[in-house]
Symmetry: C2
Subunit: 199 residues, 2 copies
């Protein structure tokens, strides 16, 4: 599909039909999400994928019983990784393994060193922004692959952590249920360009 068709065709699906997306399609989706960009290429994200009905049932209660959780095929829980030190060391190692030139390595690690002075709250905020980049790839990739999605920020992160037994360093940031839509797309609207561009 053309990029414009993806942009105009995707929408926040309010109800899915309960059918399962074939696993190979989900793998294609994840493969596209994997290539999302992030600051310093630090990739401070993890995705928990929920398919079992019993788990979805528990999560539904932590999501204001929004119907997407139980009706979707796969629920992607995008988490921000708060372990900046771990991420930084992984980055240092991986850039070498991936043949990143010495000069670039030093520039990136210099910035990472400055970023190490961030407070925990600042890092979380930064990491969550990166998670949204991965999310945007997921919603566009879903449309490209022939299914639907719905970003959902309105849920109880602590409950998600508990139910999914997530490691302490992961903060559930945004949900992205995917599946086949059982609703209709409402009229899409956005503000005109004059309201977006600063004169």
């Amino acid at each position: 599909m053309e990029f414009r068709e993806l942009v105009m065709g995707r929408y926040a699906t309010k109800l899915f039909d309960g059918c399962k997306i074939p696993e190979e399609k989900v793998a294609e989706l994840l493969e596209l999400v994997r290539w999302a960009p992030s600051g310093l290429n630090i990739q401070p994200w993890k995705i928990k994928i929920v398919v079992h009905d019993a788990t979805k049932e528990m999560l539904s209660a932590a999501t204001w019983d929004e119907p997407q959780i139980k009706s979707c095929s796969h629920l992607l829980v995008f988490c921000a990784d708060t372990d900046f030190d771990g991420l930084r060391h992984r980055l240092a190692r991986s850039m070498k393994e991936n043949g990143v030139p010495e000069q670039v390595w030093h520039i990136v690690m210099g910035i990472a060193e400055r970023m190490a002075k961030m407070s925990a709250a600042q890092w979380l905020s930064y990491a969550q922004c990166q998670v949204y980049l991965a999310l945007s790839y997921a919603i566009l990739a879903a449309k490209e692959l022939g299914f639907d999605s719905c970003p959902m920020a309105n849920f109880k992160p602590d409950e998600y952590s508990r139910i999914l037994r997530l490691p302490e360093n992961l903060v559930p940031t945004i949900l992205c249920p995917v599946g086949y839509a059982a609703d209709q797309q409402h009229g899409k609207w956005r503000y005109p360009l004059e309201e977006i561009v600063v004169a």
Copy 2:
């Protein structure tokens, strides 16, 4: 271009060739960015577009003299809007103008009311996440339209606000210079799926 080609073809361009992107292409880019999604469709972003060399010169100093600022065609400064009350009232009005069903209007405004309890820092963090969604549309749209881009978070926001005389409610969040690449794409790498998916 197919979505996969956009994903694999785009990269953080380190140097542009200084040529100008035709204004109609820039308009096409902004039109695609305009359709980016956001929580509640609240669209808490503004974009300042910088084209003049003298301004770029000043901004360059506030961006560690990274060569993208002076060599790009257009510098897009993505800002988060901190005026949550203003955004909320605009949303209430605009949903009605755009024929959003009464029931949906009440659900959305109910969530917005709960969100009004966020601290200023929490709202800024939330708004900045949404700005990254708009950013992701910009980098993919740039590739689709035949030019290049480079997200840059490593700059001095206060200096940007001052130089660009931005209104107080706008927080420069991420830069996206666009133009025609004068560098080569390094080998693209990401972590394997096993490191991204939580078992």
